[in-house]
Each structure stands twice: as structure tokens, then as C-alpha cells.
């Protein structure tokens, strides 16, 4: 059974997203809403990891032996300025998409396994992941015209 591969993927992606949110939030501390919301969302990701822990304990985690083409890599640096903010929000959005898609596949497996506990965990987490993506999109859309047209 390969579900443990995906459980490992989603748990590590949540962890990567949490630390990336904190890094970007700190890096754009002069945008106070970005700073505070990034940290709130990072708290959510860490709570998701906690929710996943008993499931992972049950199924185990299994490394993927496939070659990595695309994986959730931690954002290790922040950019600066209005354009940099757009780019960083976009990178975060990519990470949330990765998490969201991974949950979608885990949810499919959970349904087929009739694993109600896992279905509940996914339901709890994926709604927040989707809102995280919505917020990143909302914030970046608002910032884009000024950053791309008027800012120096």
C-alpha cells in the first residue's frame, strides 16, 4: 500500500508550508497584515501536522522511491519591495496548491479505505488550506496593479 507515501508527503508539505509562511511573513514585516496573517496560517499548518500525527502513526510513513520532479521545497529566502512581495506570495500559493492537491488524493484513498478518522482529518485541514490559497490570491491581486505599474 502506497498511502503512507502520500501521508508522508502531506505531512512534510505542511511543515514546509509552515516554515515558509513564517519566513515570508518575517521578511515582509513592513506589510503588517502579511506578517500577522502569515504567522496565523503557519499556526494552522502546524495544527494540521498534529492532526495527521496519529494517522501517520497508524499507517506509517514511507519514503517515495520515485525521482523527485516537483516537491514542496522550503522557501529559504525572501525578496524585498512591492514586486518581491508579489513573487513571494505567488511562491507560497504554489506550496498551498501542492498541499491541497496532496490532500485531495489522500482523501480519495481514505474514502476507498472507509477510514472515517482520516476523512475527518482531511476535511478539517483541507478547508483551511483552501482558504490559505484564497487569501494569498486575494492579497496578491490587490497588490499587483500598484507593484507592476506604479512602483519603482
Amino acid at each position: 500500500m502506497k498511502l503512507p507515501v502520500y501521508l508522508g508527503m502531506v505531512r512534510s508539505a505542511e511543515s514546509v508550508l509552515a516554515s515558509s509562511l513564517r519566513k515570508i511573513g518575517d521578511g515582509h514585516g513592513s506589510e503588517p497584515d502579511v506578517y500577522f496573517i502569515c504567522h496565523t496560517l503557519a499556526d494552522q499548518c502546524e495544527a494540521h501536522e498534529q492532526l495527521l500525527a496519529p494517522i501517520v502513526d497508524r499507517y506509517g510513513e514511507q519514503p517515495d522511491d520515485e525521482p523527485e520532479r516537483l516537491h514542496a521545497a522550503e522557501l529559504d529566502d525572501t525578496r524585498s519591495g512591492p514586486l518581491g512581495l508579489l513573487r513571494d506570495l505567488q511562491d507560497l500559493h504554489l506550496l498551498t496548491t501542492f498541499v491541497d492537491f496532496t490532500y485531495t488524493l489522500v482523501e480519495q484513498a481514505a474514502a476507498a479505505l472507509r477510514d472515517d478518522e482520516l476523512l475527518d482529518v482531511v476535511a478539517d485541514c483541507v478547508g483551511e488550506t483552501s482558504t490559505q490559497a484564497d487569501w494569498l490570491r486575494t492579497r496578491a491581486k490587490q497588490a499587483a496593479p500598484q507593484a507592476l505599474i506604479a512602483a519603482e
Partner: protein
């Protein structure tokens, strides 16, 4: 005669439930004058809080010499508060008024003429439009102009220049009221009205020190409290305010924890089955999600987070859950705190769960902080589109484009209009290069004052300030425009409970000052702003022309003004909107049928996630299909952005005193009000005073991570661990006296506050910062804080009470008595 400084609310006129609030006509004339000296009384309404008290201005020899409440008006039945009595006219009549335009030459502001000043603005404006486009322009207006002026500004920005960067200082005071109503009911628009006070069985005040912020409204509540069928009163406020003193339950919540308390109150309704299942089923969406969201918030859990007694939470919930008719009012204690929109939506939710909304006595008053804030919101001079239109709805944009005869593309609608805090951020980053500030004083009123001063002083920013006085903000300007104010110009405005009043012109403005309306029209003309068919965009001459144009813009919307005319506003009482063929005398309450403004084509917003502010968007909104049902929304509780720690162990919160408005631009020019609350102070609890070795009146340094203030301390009634400062005290007196850097001896509360805002309403969080306090010197007597308000000392020994003396005397007349006397 009554000393209305000592007796803020005046003589009681008790009344019982469902009786009409008795009249009491308050009047103040300049010393030595009597009624017979007055040449003329000119109809108006007061602009020194959001209550909207109707009044007549006394005119003698072309000068405003006093004021009298209008007995016939439903809002105040003749009453006026101390600010209205003493500052409305004296605040205008001062030798420091600006009388001619100023421009900056070699770093100094020098007097000039209108032609030069306007040419300079138009020159820079045109240059920037050519080089960068409309995103280079920002407009930051007020909650104190008139409807016609805001509408003019809104049309200039949205249909003329096409900039999304327009907001009002309403962002600081009332944005959450609008946001909470939009999220719950689909649109801005106050469900309740003041008559709900007359017939309710319980009143809940959430972060609303009504006794000081809307003194005449509080007089109405006091008259109910002292009459037969006294309503129960519940107060949620970290200070022991006058409201708290009268309350059956006072929940002195720890700042930053409102949502936790609200979650517990909502949970109690569910747990005790104090809910109306039929109403919920038929008229709301989201009850299951709400039930789940509050599930963990037992009174005990909330009690721990909020530092109140669980038993008190239960008692408050029981009053809400079992009163037949219940009224809620909400203000800055919720709006300027963390999770503002979510906490305010929970107030709406309490009413929706019980089905207690829109019927007599069952009301929500999501209050405004300023007299004309409602109009800033309606007309599109702030972060909204005119007529409560939805920027995400292409049909709404098309309506506006047709109305204004401009291309739909001209109207910015790719994102919500930019909120004030973001406008200042863009100015800080240099991408907004022209900022036009009208009738507001951000140098004192915005959070993190040092940062705001730095932004206003940016050399790359072309700053236009139009105001009555050379405010702290105006001193940074490149061009200062002298504005005519209240009593010197004509216009309408709308108060908290949607009542529209006309304010007529009583006297000429001083010197060359011009109304904001004339200034905006002049700019539009000089810029050649025009419609598609080549007509002037603002094809108006008088405020009444603009009012008629606005009526068309409001037609068919919730804020429908089409049944109102200037003539109809003269004489009797103000008229509430919507006023149209269906409601010829205006509609007193909204949503009495449980049908809300949430229909897809009607709604002002598709809503947001209340935790983050993420937009819901048209697709998901359509699939939810609220179709007239209210939305039960909340968010998960999170702790405030800055909480006390070892370095900054106390919580800081700010607010008003009864005697002043905003940055005292007007109230500071009234000897009565200025005498009552002459200079800045902070309030601390007795416990904290002992812990930090501070005695009454000692000079203390209160510091946050942003800055510090040095002011006398009042040992007062705030909760332990909390420091309160009034936000009125900037630096203009010392600047007028010639000091060049008065902020080196800081007194403004906003030196300490932090830059952060609610994710949905974008209202800054003035009510939560971490600070430390230290005694730096002995004082010369008690702190200069009034003894008549929430700032009263905890020990009332040997302190002179706040009185107004001869100057503070105002007349009170009781019309029924007058009749009797006449009969004799």
C-alpha cells in the same frame, strides 16, 4: 440653567417603555446675549459625534453666536450634548482659522491666492497622470464633510481620474460597522433605529462607551433606566465607564479577547435553546458551522481568556436569551480591537439566532464614530462604491458607468478600493506621489504617529491638505487649502440610524475660505474631467444639484434617497432612508420581514473569510445562494497581535473623553470643553499604581515598541494590567505657540499604537498594544482628567470636581412646562 460641563447628560426626563421620549430643548448663547438679540436661527445638525442631533444655529451680525436643539426632531427631541452646545459654533469662530491658501516655498508655507494654489495642484496632478497614471493619486477624506462633497470627490476619483486609492478616516472609526453588516446582511445599512431604545427590554453595549461618545443617545437610555419598565443593561468594556456603573452585568474584558467572549455568549444561546429554529431555518445560512465554531467556548473557557467571571457571562447570556425585546449597540471597543469584524458579526448572530431583528425594540446599532461617516460609505468617497454597489459585480459597474456617462473601464473595479492604511503604505513606498487629505488629521489620528509623520514628510510626496485650521498634518503639506466648515456651507448628512438632516449655511466663511464642495468642483473643472459626450463630469453648481444627482445614484438601492428633497428636510424632523415611493416618509427599520440584502444581484459584497480576509468570490457565492437569507459568520479566536511580555508587561488601550472630539480641532477651541479636559493623561489601576510606585498626578513615561508619551497619571478604574490614554492630544497648541518639535515632549496616544488592522474591515487596532510604565517625576497636582466620566479617580478625596462654572451654564426648556406657563 444647568452646568452642562458638570452635568454632561442634563436633567432627566424619565419615560416608560413604548412612550415617546419627552422633549427637552437645550440652548447655549454667547455670554451676555439673550434670545431677543438673535437675528436669525438657521437649521442644521451637529457634527461633533455620530448621533446627528438636529439644531438651529443662532446668528447675530453675521456671526454664529450659539445653538439650540430642535424639539421637533426624532433624533434628539431638542437636546444637545456638551460638544454640540459649546464647540459646534465656538469651534468655527476662532482667529486661528485658515483664511487664505498656503504653498510651500523654499521649505516654508507662505500665503498665496487660490489661482496659484490650485494651479500648483493641477500642475502636479497632470504631470503624474501623464507619467505614471491614476495609481499615483491617493485621496484621504473624512467623516465630517457633507454628502454632496463626498459624492463629488467619489465621482472625481472613480469616474474622472480612475484611481482606486480613496478612503476616509471612517476607516479608523466605522469601517467595521459597515463590514459586519455587509458580511451578515449582504449590505451596509443599519437594521435598527433610536426608537428601539424606547421599546426594548434589554440593552447590550459592546465596547461602546455611549455615555461619552454619544451623550444625547445615552441621555435617552438614562431616561429609560430612570423611568418605569427599566430595561436590563449589559456593558462590555475594560473600563468602569458610566455605562458600566448603570449596568446589571459589566463584563470588563481583557483587551484583545472580544471574540472569545462573543463565542461564549453565542454558545449559551445554543446550549440553553434560546434560539428561534424556524427563523434560523427560514432566514439564515451557516448555523451548523457557527454551532461548531463556538462549541469549545464554555463560559469557563471564555472567562479564563477574557479575565471575567463565568457566572457573569451566563447572566449576560441569560438576559440576551430571555428578554422579549433586545437592542445591541457596538462601537470602538469592538471595531478598533483585534478580530473586529468577526466579533461584531457575532453580535449580529446573537440577534439572528433569536430572530430578534428589525422589529420594535429588537435592533442592532452598528454605530458610527463620526457625524457623516455614513455618507462617506454610501457615496464612494471611501473604500466602497457609491450606493452600496459591489465592485465584483459587473452589472453594478455598468450602472455607474451609465449614470456617469463614462467607460466602465474608467471605474477601478479589479480589486476593492484601497484602504487608508494601504494608501499610506504606498505613499511610504513612493508609488502614491500625490496625497490629498481633506478634513482629517492623520498626523495625530493614525496609528504609529512617528511613522505617519515620516510618511507625510517624504520629499517625493506632494501633499495637499484642506482643513479649517493649520493642523499637525497641514504643516507637512505642499499646498494648504482653507476650507469653509459647518454653518458656513450647505449640505446634508446621515446619522447612525439612517436619519438624513440638512445643514444650511448660516454665515460666510472667514477670509477666502471655500467649501470643500467648491474646491472639489474647481479641481474637476481645472482638470477638464468630462463625460463620454463631452460634458463636464460634475455638471453641478450648488450642493442641491449634487444631492439631486446623488438621488439618481441611490435609486433602487438600499440607501434610496429619491423621496427626499432639501425642502422636505426643512422644518420638521430628519428623514430616514430608504425614502422612496414605497416608503415616502422613510423606513424606520430594515429587515423586519427577515429578507436580507444577500441576493446575488443585490448584495454589496460576496463576502470574506473573517480570519484572513480572503474573498469568497462570485462563483462560490452563487453556489451558496443566500437569496435573502442572512449569513451566520464567525472566525476562529486568535490572540491579539501584540500581547504583554516581560519587557512590555501592560496592555494599552485608547479612547475618547466626553468633552473632546478627535484631535480637538474644534473642541479644543471651546473654553468650556478645553477647561474640562485641558491636556493629556493616562489611566492606570490602583493595583498597578502601587506596583510601579505611582501616585495620582505623577508624570509617567509610557513606552511601547513604537514610541513613548510623557503625561500625568490618573489612578482610575481601568482593569489591572491595562493602561488607557485619550487619543485627543496632539501638538497644535504648542505649534501655534511657536514650538518647532513639540513631539519631542510626546502626548499623542498614537505614538504607542501599532500598525495592524482587521483583515476584513481594515480598521486599525488602536485598542491593543503592549507597553511599560515608569514614574519620572512628581506632578503638580491631580492629573488633568475629568472627574465626571470614566476617567474619574478611584479615590474621590480632595480633588476638585470638573465643573463649567458660569461659562458652562446652558439653558434647558421643557416644552410641556412652557405650555403650562403660557396658559397661566
Amino acid at each position: 440653567m444647568v452646568d452642562r460641563i458638570a452635568d454632561i447628560w442634563g436633567t432627566r426626563t424619565p419615560y416608560a417603555r413604548e412612550e415617546q421620549w419627552p422633549s427637552r430643548v437645550d440652548q447655549k448663547l454667547s455670554a451676555e446675549l439673550t434670545d431677543s438679540d438673535v437675528d436669525e436661527w438657521v437649521q442644521s445638525a451637529c457634527v461633533l459625534c455620530s448621533n446627528g442631533c438636529a439644531c438651529d444655529i443662532a446668528v447675530k451680525d453675521g456671526e454664529m453666536v450659539g445653538v439650540r436643539g430642535r424639539e421637533t426632531d426624532a433624533v434628539n427631541r431638542g437636546r444637545l450634548g456638551p460638544k454640540g452646545l459649546f464647540a459646534s459654533w465656538q469651534g468655527m469662530r476662532n482667529r486661528a482659522r485658515l483664511t487664505q491658501p498656503l504653498i510651500r516655498e523654499n521649505g516654508e508655507l507662505v500665503p498665496t491666492d487660490w489661482e496659484t494654489a490650485m494651479s500648483r495642484i493641477v500642475g502636479r496632478s497632470t504631470e503624474l497622470l501623464d507619467e505614471v497614471g491614476p495609481l499615483s493619486h491617493g485621496f484621504y477624506t473624512s467623516g465630517q464633510l457633507f454628502l454632496e462633497e463626498y459624492y463629488a470627490l467619489g465621482v472625481i476619483g472613480k469616474a474622472g481620474l480612475g484611481t482606486p486609492h480613496m478612503d476616509g478616516n471612517t476607516r479608523l472609526c466605522t469601517a467595521t460597522a459597515a463590514a459586519a453588516m455587509k458580511e451578515s446582511f449582504g449590505s451596509d445599512g443599519q437594521p435598527g433605529c433610536y426608537e428601539d431604545i424606547d421599546c426594548c427590554d434589554a440593552v447590550f453595549l459592546y465596547g461602546h462607551n455611549m455615555a461619552e461618545t454619544q451623550t444625547v443617545l445615552w441621555a435617552r437610555v438614562l431616561d429609560r433606566l430612570t423611568g418605569a419598565d427599566r430595561p436590563a443593561l449589559v456593558c462590555i468594556d475594560p473600563r468602569r465607564t458610566e455605562v458600566a456603573d448603570h449596568a446589571d452585568v459589566h463584563l470588563a474584558v481583557r483587551p484583545g479577547t472580544n471574540l472569545a467572549l462573543m463565542n461564549a455568549l453565542v454558545r449559551e444561546l445554543f446550549v440553553n435553546d434560546w434560539i428561534d429554529r424556524d427563523y434560523i431555518e427560514e432566514h439564515t445560512l451557516g448555523v451548523e458551522e457557527l454551532r461548531r465554531a463556538v462549541d469549545e467556548w464554555t463560559p469557563e473557557r471564555a472567562a479564563e481568556v477574557c479575565a471575567v467571571a463565568a457566572e457573569d457571562i451566563r447572566r449576560a447570556a441569560q438576559i440576551f436569551g430571555t428578554s422579549q425585546r433586545v437592542l445591541s449597540t457596538v462601537l470602538q471597543g469592538f471595531y478598533q480591537a483585534s478580530q473586529a469584524t468577526a466579533a461584531s458579526c457575532q453580535v449580529n448572530n446573537l440577534h439572528l439566532l433569536r430572530g430578534k431583528l428589525g422589529t420594535p425594540g429588537n435592533g442592532v446599532l452598528q454605530m458610527n464614530g463620526q457625524p457623516t461617516a455614513q455618507n462617506t460609505r454610501e457615496t464612494g468617497a471611501d473604500g466602497d462604491l457609491p450606493g452600496f454597489r459591489n465592485w465584483e459585480n459587473p452589472d453594478h459597474i455598468a450602472e455607474l458607468a451609465k449614470l456617469w456617462d463614462v467607460d466602465t473601464d474608467t471605474i477601478p473595479h479589479w480589486a476593492p478600493p484601497t484602504h487608508a492604511m494601504q494608501i499610506f503604505r504606498y505613499a511610504e513606498q513612493g508609488s502614491i506621489k500625490l496625497l490629498w487629505v481633506s478634513a482629517t488629521n492623520p498626523a495625530v489620528s493614525m496609528p504609529e504617529a512617528e511613522r505617519i509623520r515620516r510618511i507625510l514628510a517624504e520629499s517625493g510626496l506632494f501633499l495637499v491638505v484642506q482643513d479649517l485650521y493649520l493642523t499637525e498634518t497641514a504643516r507637512f503639506a505642499d499646498v494648504v487649502l482653507p476650507a469653509a466648515g459647518w454653518g458656513e456651507k450647505q449640505g446634508t448628512f446621515t446619522n447612525v440610524d439612517r436619519t438624513v438632516h440638512l445643514a444650511d449655511k448660516a454665515v460666510d466663511p472667514p477670509g477666502e475660505a471655500r467649501s470643500d464642495f467648491e474646491i472639489f468642483l474647481d479641481y474637476a473643472t481645472r482638470m477638464g474631467l468630462s463625460t463620454k459626450s463631452g460634458r463636464p463630469l460634475l455638471d453641478w453648481e450648488t450642493p442641491e444639484d449634487a444631492f439631486e444627482a446623488w438621488k439618481e445614484c441611490s435609486r433602487g438601492r438600499l440607501c434610496d434617497y429619491t423621496g427626499i428633497t432639501y425642502d422636505r428636510l426643512r422644518g420638521g424632523s430628519g428623514i430616514p432612508w430608504p425614502c422612496n415611493e414605497e416608503h415616502p416618509d422613510g423606513r424606520r427599520r430594515l429587515y423586519e420581514d427577515g429578507c436580507f440584502s444577500t441576493g446575488f444581484e443585490e448584495c454589496e459584497t460576496f463576502g470574506h473569510d473573517l480570519l484572513t480576509g480572503a474573498t469568497v468570490g462570485p462563483l462560490r457565492y452563487r453556489s451558496m445562494d443566500p437569496a435573502g437569507r442572512a449569513l451566520l459568520k464567525t472566525a476562529e479566536f486568535t490572540s491579539a497581535p501584540e500581547i504583554p511580555d516581560e519587557s512590555y508587561p501592560l496592555r494599552f488601550t485608547t479612547g475618547r473623553t466626553a468633552y473632546h472630539f478627535h484631535t480637538r480641532t474644534k473642541t479644543g477651541r471651546s473654553s468650556q470643553l478645553q477647561g474640562a479636559a485641558p491636556s493629556a493623561w493616562v489611566e492606570i489601576s490602583e493595583h498597578d499604581a502601587q506596583a510601579f510606585g505611582i501616585a495620582e498626578g505623577d508624570i509617567v513615561r509610557v513606552a511601547s515598541r513604537r514610541g513613548e508619551i510623557r503625561v500625568p497619571a490618573r489612578i482610575g478604574s481601568v482593569s489591572d494590567g491595562t493602561v488607557f490614554a485619550p487619543f485627543h492630544y496632539g501638538y497644535w497648541e504648542r505649534q501655534e505657540a511657536g514650538e518647532t518639535r513639540p513631539e519631542d515632549e510626546p502626548t499623542a496616544a498614537n505614538e504607542l499604537t501599532l500598525t495592524e488592522w482587521d483583515p476584513v474591515s481594515k480598521q486599525p487596532q488602536f485598542k491593543n498594544a503592549a507597553v511599560r510604565i515608569q514614574r519620572i517625576a512628581a506632578g503638580s497636582g491631580p492629573a488633568p482628567a475629568p472627574t465626571t466620566t470614566a476617567s474619574r479617580p478611584i479615590r474621590r478625596t480632595s480633588m476638585p470636581p470638573t465643573v463649567g462654572g458660569e461659562d458652562g451654564q446652558a439653558e434647558e426648556r421643557f416644552p410641556t412646562d412652557t405650555v403650562k406657563e403660557d396658559a397661566l
